[in-house]
Amino acid sequence: MKDPKNIYIKFIVLFIILLIAIVGDLMVGSTYISFDEIVRVLIHGQDDSVNSFIIWELRLTKTIAAILVGIGLPVSGLLLQSLFRNPLAGPFVLGISSGASLGVAIYVMAGGASIFVSSWMLAGGLSLFSILGSLMVLMAVLAVSLRVNDTLSLLVVGLMFGSITAALVSVMQYFSSADLLQRFIVWTFGSLGGFSWLEVTILSVLVITSLILSVFIVKPMNAMLINEDYARSLGVSVKNIRIFVILISSVLAGSITAFAGPIVFIGVAIPHLARNFFNTSDHKTLLLAVVLMGSILMLVCDIISQMPGYATVLPINSVTAIFGAPVVIWIILQNKRINARY
């Protein structure tokens, strides 16, 4: 039995770090806003000061977006890694994010955008196509999952779907104009900025709903860790859980990719960090752990990407990988055996 006190202390520490990261993320940007000023603006609500505009219209949406991405992708990674019992699994492995890319590519480069007239609909169209793309791959993977009996084949099928969609995107890139190509490439860099409140609201609803739903499968996921046969013998409906996990992770990965671009790294990495930090494979602990650690990592990466003192912002995708990957490598070298974490 693990010491529960120890776990609580770790959670409290993570929570405090999260609060600091949130404040830090609100403070930095092209202009520096002091802590007192942030508190004042947040408490008094919107007024017509410049700081109020910056915080309410630019920084708060970005901070919330960072947290939502930091919750959604790691949760989907955690569920998929446990389902496939594979340390490499993540939202991208099932081809879900590639599907989203395909949707965006069709929208941006193949003229899907011309359907929409107003600029508001233009933004909505991007997410619509992205979700449609990921949903398409999801349906294909689900159809296959009903036919194949083992999860490993499903993993291979997901990778194949990913390859097909990636190839289609390449074909479109090859034939599209430099202007459209650039717009698509910019999207692939990933971005937390430029979220409207509407987009933040939509994403919040999707992410929070998925998160609540995943709490309900914490118990069967723990049984699935032993192996599928034992899980069945304990009364788990393995097929239903499999469909449920694929569905939740697709909604998470699809919607996040639509709004923030393909942010690759953290979906795979955070669950590993959480297992190491808490030294457990209990999903009850891990679910909360990835939520906190994912949010912290995304906020920290967002702070780094601001490049304090400059007006430019680094692409978030590069920042998560450049600063996050070495951390993961270091932790794995410390522990030597990733497999022991399952």
């Binding site: 039995m1 019992r85 709490v215 309900f216 914490v218 118990k219 723990n222 049984a223 860790l225 032993i226 192996n227 046969d229 034992y230 069945r232 013998s233 304990l234 009364g235 788990v236 409906s237 297992r275 030294n279 457990t280 494979s281 209990d282 009850k284 497999n339 022991a340 974490r341 399952y342």
Partner: protein
Amino acid sequence: MQDTNLHKNIDVLALSNLSIGYNTEDAIKIIASNLNTVLKSGQLVALLGENGSGKSTLIRTLCNLQSPLSGSISIMGKELSQKSAKSIAVVLTSPVYAPNFTVYDMVSAGRYPYTNWLGKLSDNDHDIIQNSIESVGVSELSNRLLHSLSDGEHQRMMIAKALAQKSDIIILDEPTAHLDLINRVEITKLLQKLAKEENKAILMATHELDLALQMADRLWLMSNGEIEEGAPEDLVISGILQKIFAKLSLDFDHLSGGFKIKTETTKSIYFKSTLETNEEIWTKRALHRVGYIVENNPNNPLKLKYIRSTKKWILSDNGVEAEYLNLDKLLDDI
């Protein structure tokens, strides 16, 4: 607790007209059909059969890991289903992942059917887990991680998990495979004890004929898609056991109740043994092993005798004598 109320010799698991096998898209492969039998509380039943006789298919069907082709399986009158986890606990051969689990974690998985939607363990659950761990004798391993366990310890832990499930029935697929002799005996004895003391109905698939004959209350012999069953001794007396194992290169030894490996005996030798001393018994075994029948005919040209006082063997071939200090050299020359 439900299992303590259970009396001996109650039919807890019943198979009626059961057909098992695989239903693929283009063909139905029947492994065994028309199986009718019951599993009684307080009994240890050994399921025996050659590789490929359908033992595993039967076990998987009884554990609800695959559906029967036809017929039914009922537990105390209720049809076997996904909800039977409180009645049937299983110990499988499939490898267990989750090396990050401790022994305690694994045993607590047995409480799965009883805990709430979040899987929270109550004080009662913790007591049951603790008792289960104690009754298989691995208390000192509670906090050990799975990958640090020996095969025997692993098997005990899985049996503890099955106990924590508080089911009337425990089904085990080859629980003694990969174990050394001592552990094989100990695990089987443990199962026997659980059947007797806790009135569990225990079915174990096994290849250990010797152990099954000595410890099981009943045998289920699977062969040619049928089950022959009965008390081990009855099956020996009626010759069913011998018939089923006759195909194998085994000879049944009625005296010891075990099987001897058949050897081609072509040559004969005269070995005078009056006293059944250790040396004489093992000399006979050695001769048998290299293919000699020991005859009681002094006219045989090949003669062997053991002199106790000098601890030497004297081999005489057509009157030519040679002395040996050990059997190794003797068997080389013979």
